[in-house]
Symmetry: C2
Subunit: 282 residues, 2 copies
DNA sequence: CGTGATCTTGAAGGGGGTCAACTGGAGTGG
DNA sequence: CCACTCCAGTTGACCCCCTTCAAGATCACG
C-alpha cells in the first residue's frame, strides 16, 4: 500500500509553520466543553469556573504521536482527525476518523502512552484535559464524568464499525459501507446525508478498509458506474441511498440456505455485479 | 463463511437448561470487583458494604444480545467471551474475545442498547453492574470510577488490535498476529505464552480475522509446516516465538524505498514463503 | 517548467473465496 | 452396541477479485 508518512504536501499546502504547533491556544471553560458534548449544564458555577485549554491545529498537524507518553485526552471542537497506528515498517493502519464531540487519546489511559496517533485533516480545534486532572475533574464535576463515559462508549462503538467495514469481501461493499457510515454520521451532525466532502485521501480510505488505494479508486468508479454515487475527486454525492444501502448488506456466504429464490444467487460477488448492472439498465 | 448462529451444539453439549440463564447467581462485594480489576482497595468500608451480583454462565450461554436494551455492564470474573455483531443475513462478525478483568457491554451506554452480543465460550462468571447504578457508584466510590475508565480504555485498545490483525494481506500473517496477541495476553495473565487452549472455533477465528474458515485451517497448517507452531485441534503451542513474531511484521507494500538490500524483497507474499521454507530447510 | 503529490486506469499474476469431499467426535435412538 | 445424524476441522480444485507494477492525467508549488 505504501500508506507512508506523507505530511509534506499537507504541511506545504496549508503553510503550517510548526509541526506540533501548540500555538495560538486560548482558554475556554468546562461549561463550553460540556455543552459541546451535548450535556445540559444549567449554570453550574463550578463548571464555569474551571478553565479548559483549547489547542488549534492546521491540516497535517499531529495532535499526538503513537508511543508518546499519555499527557492529555482531547475533545474535538471542530475539524476532522485521522486516528492511526504505524507499523514497524512505516505502514499506517487507519483506525478511524473522528469529528466534532468525539474524544481522542483515551486509549492511552490504561498503558501510559498513546497506542495510536492523531493527525488533523483540516483546520481543527480541541479541548485539552490533562491526564493527571481527569479523575479529579470527574469527581468534582459529575456531569463531566458522565459526558466522558458516554463519549468513550461512542468511541468503542466506532471501532466496532471499523470491523464492519473491513469484514466485507468485495471492495465495493467495503467502500459502500464506509460511505454510508459517513452519511449517517453527517446526518447525526445535522449536515446533508447525501453530499459531503471527503477530508481524507484515497490512501487513508484504503488503509481504513484494508485494501490497496488503487482498489479504492476502482471501487469509486464502480459505484459511480452503477449509478449509486457521483464522485468528483473528494466531492461525493450519494445519488441512490436505497441502492447503496442494499449493497452494504452483502457480507460473506450469507446463510446455510441461501435464498432458494431466483437463479442461485449464492455468491456475494455476483450479487455485487448483477443487480447493479440491472440498476444501470433500468 | 456461514458463521451462523450455531448454539444448538453448545447448548446440547453442555446441557444448559435455560438459554439466558440468570441462574445460580449469588452476591459479592464491590471490594472483590475492585480487587479483580487490580485496584488497591485497603479496607474501604463503603466498597465492602456495596453488594454486586454475580452471574454464572455455561458454555454457549448468551450474556446479552445485540439490539436489546442496555440493562447492565459486566466485568469478567472468569471464563472467556466472544463479542460479535450479527448482520441482517445472519453473518456473525466477531469483534474480539474477552477474558478475566475485561469489561463487557460498555458500548451500549451511548445508545441505550447493546450494539454487540456476548456469548460465553466456556463456563464463566461476571460481576453485574446495572446501567442505572453506574454513575452513582462512580461518584460514591472514586476507585470504581477509575477502574471503570481504565477497563474501558483497555477495551478501546483491544479493538485497535482487531484492525491490526485484519489489516495484513496474507492470511498466515493475520493468524500469526492473532496467535501472538493471545500469547501476550496469556503472558499478562501469568499463564504460559507458548502453550494455550483455543476457546473459540475456527469459524470464530475466521470471522475475527476476516477470512474464510477454510483459510484459517490452511493457515494453521502452513504455520505448522514452517515449524512456527504445533497444532492439535484447539491445542496450540508456539515453537518458534521469534519466527512467528517476525512474520507478524509483514504488512502491505512496506515503504517507498523497499530495503535495497538483498534480492528485492518487495512483496509481502514472498517474504511469507521464502524465509519460511528456508527455516524449514535450515 | 520541473518536481512531487494525488488520483485514475490498464495489465498480469497469484492468493483466497467458494464448493466439494472426507475424517473424526458427540449425541441420539434403535 | 451400532447405525445415524450433525458438526468441526482439514484438504483439494477451480477461478474470480484484488494486489502489485506501471503509466498517464491533473494539480500545487517554487
Amino acid at each position: 500500500m505504501g500508506n507512508i508518512v506523507r505530511l509534506n504536501r499537507a504541511q506545504r499546502q496549508f503553510k503550517s509553520a510548526a509541526c506540533c504547533a501548540e500555538a495560538t491556544g486560548h482558554q475556554s471553560s468546562m461549561c463550553d466543553l460540556l455543552q459541546l458534548m451535548g450535556a445540559d449544564v444549567g449554570d453550574d458555577p463550578l463548571a464555569t469556573s474551571v478553565l479548559v485549554p483549547i489547542r488549534i491545529l492546521h491540516a497535517g498537524d499531529t495532535l499526538f504521536h503513537a508511543g508518546f507518553a499519555a499527557a492529555a485526552i482531547y475533545f474535538v471542537r471542530s475539524g476532522t482527525f485521522k486516528i492511526f497506528q504505524t507499523a514497524d515498517d512505516g505502514y499506517e493502519q487507519v483506525l478511524g476518523f473522528a469529528g466534532r464531540a468525539e474524544v481522542l487519546g483515551f486509549d492511552a489511559l490504561c498503558m501510559g502512552q498513546y497506542p495510536t496517533a492523531a493527525v488533523a485533516l483540516e483546520h481543527a480545534s480541541v479541548f485539552v484535559v490533562l491526564v493527571q486532572d481527569i479523575f479529579a475533574l470527574a469527581q468534582r464535576i459529575p456531569v463531566f464524568d458522565r459526558v466522558l463515559h458516554l463519549a468513550v462508549s461512542r468511541a468503542l462503538t466506532r471501532r466496532g464499525d471499523l470491523a464492519d467495514a473491513m469484514a466485507a469481501v468485495a471492495a465495493e461493499v467495503r467502500l459502500a459501507r464506509f460511505l454510508v457510515q459517513l452519511s449517517q454520521r453527517a446526518a447525526a451532525c445535522g449536515q446533508s446525508p447525501c453530499r459531503f466532502h471527503l477530508r481524507m485521501s484515497r490512501r487513508d480510505i484504503a488503509s481504513h478498509l484494508g485494501v490497496a488505494h488503487e482498489t479504492v479508486s476502482r471501487s469509486f468508479s464502480a459505484l459511480a458506474r452503477w449509478g449509486l454515487v457521483r464522485v468528483d475527486d473528494r466531492e461525493v454525492e450519494i445519488t441512490d441511498m436505497v441502492g447503496i444501502k442494499s449493497l452494504t448488506c452483502s457480507t460473506r456466504r450469507p446463510v446455510d440456505q441461501p435464498v432458494a429464490q431466483g437463479p442461485r444467487q449464492t455468491y456475494v460477488r455476483h450479487a455485487v455485479n448483477k443487480p447493479m448492472t440491472h440498476a444501470v439498465a433500468g
